[in-house]
Amino acid sequence: MRCHRPFQALIALLFFVLSLYLYAFSVNCVFAAEDAISRWVDEFQPSTLSKQEQREELKWFSKAAEPFRGKVLRSTAEDIKTHFWERDVLAKAFEEITGIRVNHEIVGEGSLVQRIMEQMKSGRVINDIYVNDADLVGTHLRSQAVLNLTEYMAKEGKPYTNPQLDLTDFLNLEFGQDYDGNQLQLPDQQFANLYWFRYDWFTRKDIKDKFRRKYGYELGVPVNWAAYEDIAEFFTGLEIDGKKVYGHLDYGKKSPSLGWRFTDAWLSIAGVGDKGLPNGLPVDEWGIRVENRVPVGSSVARGGALNGPAAVYALEKYVLWLNKYAPPEAKNWLWVDAGPKAARGDIAQVVFQYITWLSHEDFHRPGSPVVDAAGRPLWRVAPTPHGRYWDEGMKVGYQDAGSWTIPKNVKGQRRAMAWLWAQFCVSKTVSLKKFLVGGTPVRKSTVFSTYLDPIKDKWGGLIDFYRSPEEKKWTDTGLNVPHYPALSAVWWPYISKAISGELTPQEAMNAIADSQDKLMGKMHLARYSPKLNPVKTEAYWLKQPGAPKPWRPRPEPKTVSYDELIKQWRSR
């Protein structure tokens, strides 16, 4: 037996050493994660959370991701500043904290939609998760091909759901919900379309006097299109400080982005559609009528409003202003070309400015023609003026939320990893920092952060906008649109023809309504698939209350002082 002892001791020693090594390895790992958390907490400043709270939150991520250490996740988002920052900073942080490597691929919105559609149609797992505009929620709820996050959070994904996620803190959570309130998409970044103008010019006495003399009312933020039109006319060709300026900015190059210019609520701003938030019911701003959650048509003859007087008016004004008041080269611009153009210093106002562009450095750079000597913007944003068909109780403008979306065929661990990554990107730990970079807030805690109070002027009224209850009137494409990618593709070719004069606005809208109805008539979706109403006379529908609405005359032009407006927002 003795002779065996040294052998046993050796075995025991070896076992001890091995245990020690394994312990050290695991502790090392934990320590490594701890290290990383500390570093990243410092990095994610400022934050609406305290550093301790941040640390707690990040620790939870580290722990929840333990089973997935060393694995790879594929995610895709569109090409805006916020997502580039996610790719370059957040993905790195996520890997260091959780051990999960994320390929956060940035592609154009068009390709992104194509990918997610292909994945849903064919079942090929192209990506594990997408940041997909909530405009598609009507599509997703009908296809049943994306993960119901509400259900997931309650059951399968419960261990992977951040206890500090705080859904109530989200600004517009409803954008990603189906008719029954199930969360299909979780907002990651959101941006609105607002009215943009040169506050410095609008408040200059000589310019104001000149305007009053000519139009008989005060120059200010236009409340309706009649006033916008007058102001556009007033500024176009006017010389300010020796420079000729334009009264309007837009874009008109034949491309899919021309369609967004309309489907991103231009028609609701004109007044097409019924009252109701976030979208008009039964007729929304795409002119689609929905009855019992089922789309029944978009042409007036079927009860829709897409070729009604209001829609034709919306297209008419767009073409007219583009031709008369915008720089001549604007007709050859794409969405991306037009985005930062207001910053070049010769534009007085923009009726439809995507605020995501306002984080572009041209709007903030010292020496920029739209920044004063102290580095403060000379421009402001204000509510979008509305057209003559608009009624109180309708949505006022467009606001979309790029939202995390997981296709149903991503399962098991992949699904869990994807969900962790999505939550990480919208966590309170990183939200304020992310807003400061990309200017696309999703959390109330972000926009109400005391950190922003002293510096909010930097955003030219944007913070005030988000803090006001008015913000709820800016919404995305709603639940009525049964197949966003297919239907949105219909619009731009005809709009382009209206710009070139090949079609009159009425002909163009007729064609769009007709094509949209034909497409809807062919759809076979898993739920609430469209079923077209029989055709009736247009007169019948125009006589019914609500949309489609009959013709209206030009109203009195109306403006409001910007400072008054801000006061109102703050008081609410």
């Binding site: 996740l73 849903m120 149609k121 064919s122 079942g123 296809s143 065929n409 661990q413 076979h524």
Partner: protein
């Protein structure tokens, strides 16, 4: 006799020999007999040659066939290896086909042997996943179907294997099987288990692949899988065909395999190929290329394949296993045919030469598997027979062609020349001396004979032709002469007609001045007939030419033409004008001349008239100008004279009062003026002024267009009126005593009314009458009583008025100038010199008529006025 008798014998023998033939050979010509002999010789030659060749060719062919079979066996072995390589290539191509690889990824994902992480193993496969898998199966099948068709494969199967060894010891699970009849797809129910899958089958003829829009974004979530199988007519079946079953365990799935197997007695080439695709590693979630499926391709080497190979190689082919023929391109009806060692085998009731060669396969090593090439022996026999027949046929054709050539030769060399010689003799006999025998070859006997014959016949022919020629020549000379004679007389008549139809007088004279030619016009002018004139001296027959004889002779000697124009002569008291041309004429060496005499009196008169008209018009213009200028001063003179008379008249009280105021008496003044003949001077001034005014008024008539109306007027009445006027004319009465002149009226009774201005015509006639009276009074010729003849008649479309007197007449110089204004033969103060001019002007200008004068000194003068009967208006 004996010689003759022998010849006779020989001839009889020949006849006897020829009698052997069924047709009467002795009736044939010489050429045909020769021909017959040659034909016989050739036939014998042909038969012999065919027999010899037929006998030797069989052995040679057998040798060639065996060599060929050996060569073809090598080729066949190559073909079989190639078929194997081709089906392996099909299996391999799956890995490089992007569509197949992508769809295999889906199949693996939704299949039983893989899940994205291990936690998912063991759970049921969801309906949506089954439909995704079905989509992938349809996409892959579409590709497989074309691969199968292009490569003529019997079946393609795809099996799923477990990548990353997720399911241990997993047997490859069939997911798609495609054979020549149907497509099979399998449906799995649980992750981690592939046992008892549901198999769905569809016959290929029913198979329709879903269109690009069939699956949309929510199809798989909308309907159960059965709907999709049902929509595409798939039926659930139990079990799969034998070709879809892997009969052996596959130990090393990474290696491709290739093997000959046997099923139902048929050899089958079977290839296995593992397909690698990118699959996410469930440990790392990173994509990795791993084997996740296996493709099995089968090619059955059946009779069809053998037949195709036979078609390519040209010999019968077969496959043998362990020296037994398994399959062949010809029907062996399932029987196992052994391969004996003597290179011949028997299939059914036929013998074959054969050659066998072993083939090496990947799996089977140097096997007992052999390719066999075969060729039936009966084919060789047949070939030999064919060869014999072909040689016989060829030789036969050659003989026929040769005989034909010989026949043509004899025909041309002997038969044709003889025939033409015979035809020649026949023609000469019938009198055709021109016939010539064609000489085919001049050097042979027939040629010599033919040319002698031709010589003879041509001699006869030549003589006949000579006689014929002389006759023909004589006949044509007579005809020629007659023709020339007729032509000559025609020409002569023609010339005479020309000469006689000319309006000129043509006279031909010879050197001595004797008339040689005398045309009809000459006859008419002289009244001497041509017959009488010819041969007489020109002096005698045409005395008017005496003055010109000298020129006629001069023309003949100098040979230059002579011309004299407007020669005057008096014929019947009338002046006539002629042009004379004399041309020298040389006819047949005899010199003479031709005289042409043209009466140009009318032309000369017209020329004079035209000159007169020109003058009148120019003077008229001048006179009108002058008249206007002169009228005013004359008016002044006459007015002043009239005033003087009135200022001294006692009829005006103002004159008396003015004279008293001047301290005198009007009576005294008048007395003084009368006494000193001042009144008479004043009368003189008034007369001279009135006279001048009258002249001027006449002058104005030249220029003034008459505005009077043309009215149809009976001229006889007009002439009578005028005569009456003349009788009462103060001047005529006083100075010329017109009543003593005898007036003769010669009026044509049926003259129509002539459109004219009667007053003007009256003025003209009155003027003519005055002139006539004046002339006759001035002459005061007691020998004859003064007489004026007035004539009125129609000539053509004109009415002519003639006023003829028998006064002293005028000489030519005066006659030419009578119509000139201011030309007068009267004393100064008697005539204005304008009367005839105005008359001329009235007739010519106002009435578009003519006015002419003819006068002969001491006989009288005749004025003619012609007025157009057709009015101006027409």
């Amino acid at each position: 006799m004996s010689g003759n008798g022998e010849q006779m014998e020989n001839a009889k023998d020949q006849i006897g020999f020829l009698k052997l033939f069924p047709f009467p050979l002795n009736r044939l010509g010489v050429g045909n007999k020769i021909l017959f002999m040659v034909l016989l010789i050739f036939i014998c030659y042909t038969i012999l040659l065919s027999l010899v060749i037929g006998a030797t060719s069989f052995n040679n062919l057998a040798l060639v066939t065996k060599n060929n079979l050996e060569r073809m066996a090598t080729l066949l072995a190559g073909r079989i290896v190639k078929i194997n390589a081709q089906s392996m290539q099909v299996a391999q191509s799956m890995e490089t086909n992007y569509i197949i690889v992508q769809q295999l990824q889906r199949l693996i994902n939704y299949g039983p042997y893989y899940s994205s992480d291990e936690s998912l193993l063991g759970r049921p496969i969801e309906d949506s996943e089954v439909i995704y898998a079905f989509q992938a199966q349809m996409e892959i099948s579409k590709q497989l179907l074309s691969l199968q068709t292009i490569n003529a494969l019997n079946s393609i199967s795809i099996f799923l294997v477990s990548p990353f060894d997720m399911v241990h010891d997993a047997m490859p699970a069939l997911t798609i099987h495609l054979d020549r009849k149907a497509l099979f797809v399998t449906r799995f129910n649980q992750k981690g288990r592939a046992e008892n899958p549901q198999v769905y089958r569809i016959a290929l003829e029913k198979l329709i692949f879903p269109g690009p829009d069939y699956f949309d974004i929510s199809s798989v979530y909308a309907l159960p899988p059965e709907k999709f199988y049902g929509d595409h007519h798939f039926e659930m079946v139990v079990g799969v065909p034998e070709s879809a079953v892997l009969s052996e365990k596959w130990n090393s799935p990474e290696e491709p395999r290739s093997k000959i197997i046997f099923r139902g007695g048929l050899p089958i080439i079977r290839n296995w190929y593992p397909v690698n695709v990118l699959v996410s590693n469930p440990e790392t979630f990173m994509d990795q290329s791993v084997t996740c499926s296996m493709v099995v391709v089968e090619k059955v080497l059946d009779t069809e394949v053998m037949k195709t190979l036979k078609y390519d190689l040209g010999v019968d082919v077969g496959l043998a296993w362990k020296n037994t023929l398994l399959i062949a391109s010809m029907n062996i009806s399932g029987s196992r045919v052994p391969l004996p060692g003597n290179q011949t085998l028997v299939v059914g009731d036929r013998d074959y030469y054969y050659h066998a060669k072993p083939v090496r396969f990947l799996e089977n090593g140097l096997s007992d598997f052999m390719v066999v090439t075969m060729s039936p022996i009966s084919e060789l026999t047949g070939l030999t027979k064919t060869l014999f027949f072909q040689i016989a046929l060829l030789t036969g054709i050659a003989v026929l062609v040769t005989v034909l050539l010989i026949y043509v030769g004899i025909h041309r060399v002997v038969k044709i020349p003889l025939q033409s010689l015979m035809n020649g003799v026949k023609s000469i006999a019938e009198g055709d001396m021109t016939y010539r025998v064609h000489i085919h070859s001049p050097d042979d006997e027939l040629g010599v004979l033919s040319s002698a014959f031709n010589q003879m016949s041509s001699e006869i022919g030549r003589k006949s032709i000579e006689l014929e020629d002389v006759n023909r020549h004589l006949r044509s000379s007579i005809v020629d002469l007659r023709t020339k004679e007729t032509d000559l007389s025609k020409t002569k008549n023609y010339l005479n007609n020309i000469i006689n139809s000319m309006p000129s007088i043509l006279v031909g004279v010879d050197q001595e001045g004797k008339v040689t030619e005398w045309n009809v016009e000459a006859e008419r002018a002289t009244g001497i007939s041509a017959e009488n004139a010819k041969g007489k001296s020109l002096n005698d027959v045409y005395p008017g030419l005496i003055a010109r004889l000298e020129e006629v002779y001069k023309t003949m000697t100098e040979k230059k033409p002579y011309k004299a124009e407007k020669l005057m002569s008096w014929v019947d008291g009338e002046t006539r004008y002629s042009d004379i041309m004399v041309y020298p004429l040389v006819t047949n060496g005899v010199e003479g001349a031709v005289l042409r005499i043209d009466d140009v009196t009318n032309r000369v008169r017209i020329e004079e008239m035209m000159i007169q008209t020109e003058k009148m018009i120019s003077v008229g213009g001048l006179a009108a100008g002058m008249a206007h200028e002169i009228n005013n001063p004359i008016g002044g003179i006459l007015q002043s004279v009239q005033n003087i008379f009135r200022r001294v008249s006692v009829d005006f009280p103002k004159n008396v009062q003015t004279a008293q105021e001047s301290g005198t008496d009007l009576g005294c003044i008048r007395m003084y003026l009368e006494k000193r003949e001042v009144f008479s001077f004043l009368e003189g001034i008034r007369d001279a002024g009135q006279r001048a005014a009258h002249i001027v008024a006449n002058m104005l008539n030249f220029s003034r267009q008459s505005h009077s109306q043309f009215t149809p007027t009976p001229l006889d009445a007009l002439l009578n009126n005028t005569l009456e006027l003349a009788a009462h004319d103060y001047d005529l009465k006083k100075k010329y005593d017109f009543r003593h002149i005898q007036i003769v009226r010669e009026f044509s009774p049926d003259l129509p009314a002539v459109p004219c201005i009667p007053t003007e015509i009256e003025q003209v006639i009155l003027n003519l009458l005055k002139n006539a009276a004046q002339a006759m009074m001035d002459a005061n010729d007691s020998r004859k009583n003064p007489q004026i003849t007035l004539r009125l008649y129609q000539e053509g479309k004109s009415a002519v008025i003639e006023v003829e007197d028998n006064g002293p007449g005028m000489d030519e110089k005066i006659r030419k100038r009578v119509f000139e204004p201011f030309f007068t033969t009267k004393e100064v103060g008697v005539g204005t010199g304008l009367g005839l001019s105005v008359a001329y002007f009235i007739i010519n200008n106002n009435h578009r008529g003519t006015m002419t004068v003819v006068s002969t000194p001491s006989i009288g003068t005749k004025f003619s006025v012609a007025l157009p009967i057709v009015g101006r208006s027409s």
